[in-house]
């Protein structure tokens, strides 16, 4: 036994000390160029949709009524499809992770931004600005310091308010801040119904409801413009010679590993765990991703699509243009056709489970949105969600096998906070 282990160890050592990847740098580069092209096209779509949203918001703010509000909400929902499809570029690309926190941070302590219902509570020992209501207050206090919020500007939102006090739920910018400003809180709990903010929260003069309509409009406008700025930045990063593209191409073999990290982390840790299963554990609509608009089922659907896009090396733009090329799927199939087929079938299974969830949520007859599915005692809803969770877990496990098969190093290199792991002294001051 000892001899056998020694031989195995020697072979493992020998195989690990020469390049173990089953593909060449040239092949890896081809895949990553396509990966970067998809990222570029995808983020461009997200930017274009955000610009359309911004236009609709401007129309609404200038002329608030039920119709202009409905159009703005619809544009918000439409903008989620391209953005959520970019999420597989997270976790393996530091620049994307840096940017993501500005545009898609979630959940939020919405009391930081605007008025909230009494059930929200008035204070928290974990967040000193839990109910600060910046829209209503021209100054707020945190840890004894007074912060001037009289002028609602991009700088105030991005540099002062966002994650103020190092608290991640102090989300002042991005999709969900805008979502909150359009829909308001969803006070239906796990019953049917989304947030129901009236357009009169933006009305002029005496018809303004809940006070400070002008500041509310200003906040909405500024948040939207800021999001466009951030999206422009990430689009530039994925262009030819852009920083994110250059970064992933600098070491193509490692770049493939990073692509796997993105897919696997999104499937297993983020989607299956944090965003979906968590809802079943806490039965709280605040724990659904698009909690104000009840659009969560679509966000999860498009997230899953994101993984498929990266694995198959194919993305369909909003205009129907297909961006495709060398793919990770082909790299895997070259070494193990059956495994590639297995992964594709697991991806298809996830798509099927997600489609079921979407169909039920969008049904015109007895629909059940995500926040209803996670309600206490909803066995049907739980079953739908667990199907999704299990399919994502199976997908991640299959991707794990592929990592090993194509000879990539262990995935542990990209632990969260890896800078600190490499340099422990960085955590001291």
């Amino acid at each position: 036994m000892k001899k056998i282990i020694s031989i195995i160890s020697l072979l493992a050592f020998l195989s690990s000390s020469v390049s173990a990847a089953s593909f060449s740098e040239k092949e890896a580069k081809a895949v990553l160029v396509n990966y970067s092209n998809i990222a570029l096209a995808n983020y461009q779509d997200a930017l274009d949709a955000a610009i359309e949203l911004d236009n609709a918001l401007n129309v609404f703010i200038n002329n608030p009524n039920a119709s202009t509000l409905a159009i703005a909400k619809n544009k918000w929902k439409l903008s989620r499809a391209p953005y959520q499809q970019t999420e597989a570029f997270r976790f393996g690309n530091p620049e994307v992770d840096e940017f993501e926190g500005k545009v898609n941070a979630w959940p939020l302590d919405e009391g930081l931004i605007d008025y909230v219902s009494s059930s929200y509570g008035t204070e928290s020992d974990e967040n000193g600005v839990y109910a600060a209501n910046v829209i209503a207050n021209k100054k707020i206090k945190l840890s004894g310091k007074t912060i001037d919020t009289s002028k609602i500007t991009k700088k105030l939102l991005s540099e002062t308010l966002h994650e103020i006090g190092e608290i991640e739920s102090n989300v002042a910018t991005g999709y969900h801040a805008i979502e909150f400003l359009l829909w308001g809180q969803d006070n239906n709990g796990t019953d049917a119904g989304a947030g129901n903010r009236s357009f009169t929260d933006y009305a002029k003069g005496d018809t303004c409801t809940n006070g400070n309509c002008d500041r509310r409009g200003q906040y909405l406008k500024v948040a939207s413009e800021l999001m466009i700025d951030d999206l422009k930045g990430i689009v530039a990063a994925w262009k030819v010679n852009g920083s994110a593209r250059n970064d992933i191409l600098k070491d193509p073999i490692d770049g493939i590993r990073r692509a796997f990290v993105g897919m696997g982390s999104l499937a297993y840790g983020e989607l299956a765990g944090e965003r979906i299963k968590l809802g079943l554990m806490v039965h709280d609509p605040e724990e659904e991703h698009d909690c104000f608009s009840d659009n969560t089922h679509w966000s999860h659907y498009w997230d899953a699509q994101s993984i498929k896009n990266v694995y198959t090396g194919r993305y369909v733009t909003t205009d129907g243009v297909v961006v495709k090329g060398a793919s990770i799927s082909k790299l895997v199939a070259k070494v193990d056709k059956a495994l590639d087929k297995e992964i594709l079938s697991k991806i298809a299974a996830t798509e099927k489970a997600m489609t079921t969830m979407v169909e039920i949520a969008e049904s015109s007859n007895n629909s059940m949105k995500f926040d209803q599915m996670i309600a206490e005692g909803n066995t049907k809803g739980k079953a739908i969600i667990m199907d999704v969770v299990n399919s994502l877990v199976n997908e991640a496990r299959a991707l794990e096998k592929a990592v090993e098969k194509i000879g990539l190093p262990a995935l542990g290199e990209d632990l969260e906070g890896s800078d600190s792991l490499d340099n422990p002294s960085a955590v001291g001051a």
Binding site: S9, P107, D109, E123, E126, S265, V282, S425, G428
Partner: protein
């Protein structure tokens, strides 16, 4: 024909383990159940049972002494939980039991928000045992008890005839009862598993490997590496923050100031995990396959971590202010341990780390 003969010759020469070796691996895994898992759950169950008893006494007649005893018993119960926290295997994974015992890390701050809303609502039906069981995991287990008992400047008279005090008393009694029953169910289910079913549990944790030695390797490897990642990322790096910006409220059990004590208990338990039984321990196994150096490094690193954490204050906050250099040294040792497992051990056992539930935001 020659090809067939050749095939059988190769098959004959392929490595396979002996019956004695197979028995060793099975016995090791069964020992884990009987000598570590069940005893630690039993210890925790008894401590929580006492916590529930003290909650009733206190709520019947609130006093300063009663409150201090309750807090002490909470710490004792939580500490015994820390000794089994790392073994997320088998019955504890059913029906979100783990999360119902301790929902942490709470990356989204949902626990506090739900607690605030619950207390603000004063909904009586939410305090019954039946509804606690069915409700959110954040309103069950150790964390909510900690929030009630270790609120800043809490005095016992807050529980005397006030609406808020009565409400919190109901929660104290029924949440601790729910926790007690949770542990009892876990123990019962472990005890009811026969040897074959026990091995199946380990097999599921070991990525469904077919060979017993692979099950054993993967189980030890995955359990340790995933837990070290958990301790590094959530118990240490998250509250330490980046560039000197501390996030102390991200440390585990910051209200009761027991974060470092938790880590010490974790390493005491990990050391037992590797050294459970003289003949069937993992450390001993490494020595038998000529990996004595690695065995010694692993064991010694664990032992020194236990000593080092014992030399710190139990509270994370106090250590940030007074012992940051010692804390950094401990972090470095844990990184070293991580490397020993992830690099050295993975080569010997031929295992690679995969995705885990802590990936993602």
């Amino acid at each position: 024909m020659i090809k067939i003969k050749f095939f059988f010759i190769i098959l004959f020469l392929l490595p396979s383990i002996t019956q004695a070796e197979e028995n060793f691996f099975k016995k090791s895994l069964l020992n884990l159940k009987n000598k570590l898992i069940i005893p630690n759950y039993e210890k925790t169950y008894l401590n929580v049972k006492e916590l529930n008893k003290l909650s009733k006494y206190f709520c019947n007649s609130p006093s300063n002494k009663g409150l201090e005893e309750l807090k002490k018993q909470w710490k004792k119960s939580f500490n015994s939980w820390q000794e089994i926290q790392f073994l997320r295997i088998g019955p504890i994974n059913k029906d979100f039991r783990y999360e119902s015992i301790q929902f942490w890390p709470d990356k989204n701050g949902i626990a506090n928000k739900q607690y605030i809303k619950l207390i603000a609502s004063k909904k009586q039906k939410k305090t019954t045992l039946e509804n606690i069981k069915k409700g959110s995991v954040t309103l069950r287990g150790f964390p909510i008890l900690e929030k009630i008992l270790f609120k800043k400047n809490l005095k016992f008279d807050k529980f005397l005839n006030t609406e808020d005090g009565k409400y919190k008393c109901k929660l104290l009694i029924n949440v601790s009862k729910d926790l007690e029953l949770n542990f009892l169910n876990i123990i019962t289910e472990w005890e009811n598993l026969d040897d074959k079913k026990t091995i199946l549990i380990f097999k599921e944790e070991g990525n469904n490997e077919k060979k017993i030695e692979k099950i054993y390797y993967k189980f030890y490897f995955n359990t340790t590496i995933n837990y070290l990642q958990f301790v590094i990322n959530y118990k240490l790096l998250a509250p330490l923050g980046k560039d000197g910006k501390r996030k102390l409220k991200k440390s585990e059990s910051w209200r009761s100031k027991t974060s470092i004590k938790n880590i010490q208990s974790n390493f005491i338990s990990l050391q037992k995990f590797f050294n459970l039984d003289q003949n069937t321990s993992f450390i001993n196994y490494l020595k038998t396959i000529n990996e004595k150096n690695l065995a010694l490094k692993l064991d010694n690193t664990l032992k020194s971590l236990i000593v080092d954490t014992n030399n710190l204050d139990e509270s994370f906050e106090k250590n940030i202010n007074n012992n940051i250099e010692k804390l950094k040294l401990i972090l470095e040792k844990i990184f070293l341990l991580n490397t020993l497992i992830e690099d050295d051990l993975s080569i010997i056992l031929e295992i690679k780390k995969g995705f885990n539930a802590y990936d993602g935001d």
